[in-house]
Amino acid sequence: MQRYRQVATGAWLIAALAWLSQAFVPWASRGPLSRSTLLDLAALIQDRILVSVPRWTVGLALALPVLAAGLAVLALLRGRAALIGRWSLGLLGVGAVAVLTGALTDFETARFGTGAWLGVLGVVAVVVAICAEWTTRPSKSKTRSRDEVLS
């Protein structure tokens, strides 16, 4: 049980770290965003140097790092609210990664750069974390035998 909880915490932290760092590295292996980062793109949009990209892209580019920040803190907290919070942020993050990966690489793995792979790593970590937490979810029996407690 304890080990599953440790695995879950580790996986949440890995997801948070991956989604934090993806914003600072190139997303594609070639073509647009292969030498520039999502934050470069967002800054150029914000400064109106790039006008062909919708302004909401700025929000999307910052969404993952912000989600990751929340996830990193919630990963270390206990309790039902923290659990619900990290599951929600994790699933939102998975959605954001899907949107970004589709928009920037068209889901072609050959085009995946470091950022895209970090996004995927975060998704895998979220799946692992959720599975581990599901395994350690509170059992319906409210009492445990002495042997169970001591073992």
């Binding site: 948070a16 647009p32 790092p65």
Partner: protein
Amino acid sequence: MKFCPECGASLAPEQRFCTGCGFALAGAAAAGAPPSPVPGQPVGAPQVSAYEQLGSHAGAPLPPPSGRKRVRGLVIAGVGVAVLGVVGVAAWQVFGGADTGADKPEDAVTEILEAAESQDPVAAIRMLNPAESAGIDEVYEQLHQRLVKAGVASKDGVFEAGAVTFDDVETRVRELGDDVAIVYLEDGTMTVELKAEEFPAALSGVADQVRAELGDSWQERIDLSDLADDLYIGGEPGTGLFVITVKVDGKWHVSPTATAAEYLARDWFGQGGDWSAYADGGDRDPVTADVPQDALQVLADAARGDDLDGMLDALPSGQGALLRPFVELANRELEAAGAGFDLAIDEQEVRAGDAKDGLVRVDIDRLTGDLNGKESGDPYPNRFTLSGACAELATYYGEVEQGCTPQWLVDASGISEAFVMVRETDGGWQVDPFATAVAWLEEIVGNFPDSELDSLIEAIDNGSADDWIADRLG
């Protein structure tokens, strides 16, 4: 119902140990409740919590729960501060002004070369002077979408059939003035590659031609030092291969306009511009119009009587500055030839559109004015009229020249009359030549009919592009 503070498991109110993780519920002790007997522990024996029992089973004493909690609190706080710091850096990078340009002039140039290698337009735009690059992506994006639709470009924007790589590039930097530097590309190689089999289907004819002349895969390595030695503009010594970089907001950016102007100056005048004048614009008062409709008139007034410096004052800051180093050269040449010019707009009928991102499109319905030249002291008055897509010029030699933009070009470009983009700046309005060029390109790229684009691509593919253009333009 209560919850375990350790693992979040739901517990019955009377439970003293968590059924999920065995955690001794500290709340009871903290609240001064009597020590909890562990199930199975004899009454009266020293009270040992289940937690301590678990620790002794593991063979090592565990720190008390309160200590662990403190450690966890510190860890959570540390992680929170760290991630908030990282997010803060990200937000600052986005909202604290675009982090464009490079720390050194040569880095801006090499970054552009690497962006070309990677075919990453975003990375390239980051290194371009913002005053020259704003909005250029709109043209790129529209053109890319049109070419994807026509089957010529790939969706990811990568041209697989061709590649360029730069190796061992060596640069030499010379400061030209305040915030301007010239970067010479002195050594290194540029390798150009073509792969016939990677050409898109719509260009199969071109691919066949490449295959026949160059083989399936062709590669040429060009020595940059040889290229620099061969580049003679305006006579000896060779100008070399160079790029002009300018410092904007503390970072170095490549300026295509300044680079082109410097090459042209060396070609026309046999010498480059006086770059010490680059920063002079900052000390001069900008010339602006009160309303967008008057910006063209104000620009013409500012240029009256050969006043090139005045004309540059009427352009947005950062744009006029790029041409100011050449004013003295141009004035000297004009003086030597006893030449000059005078531009005056007498009448104008213009319409201003809505402002968007500080820019207003001003359509010119009709414009009448004088463009008077002077050579060897003799005046050469010309009178011009611009009306829609047609122009008339009453020349100094007494003839009237008339012409209209070919109807096909009007239809294909969607531009039926001239327009300029006017920028809000320094509390007024100024004609923005760069935004105007971008807007014209945008119109042409956006309006060019699909059928004509397909027809042009077909003509390029079968090698008859010249005939196609001649046929359209007459």
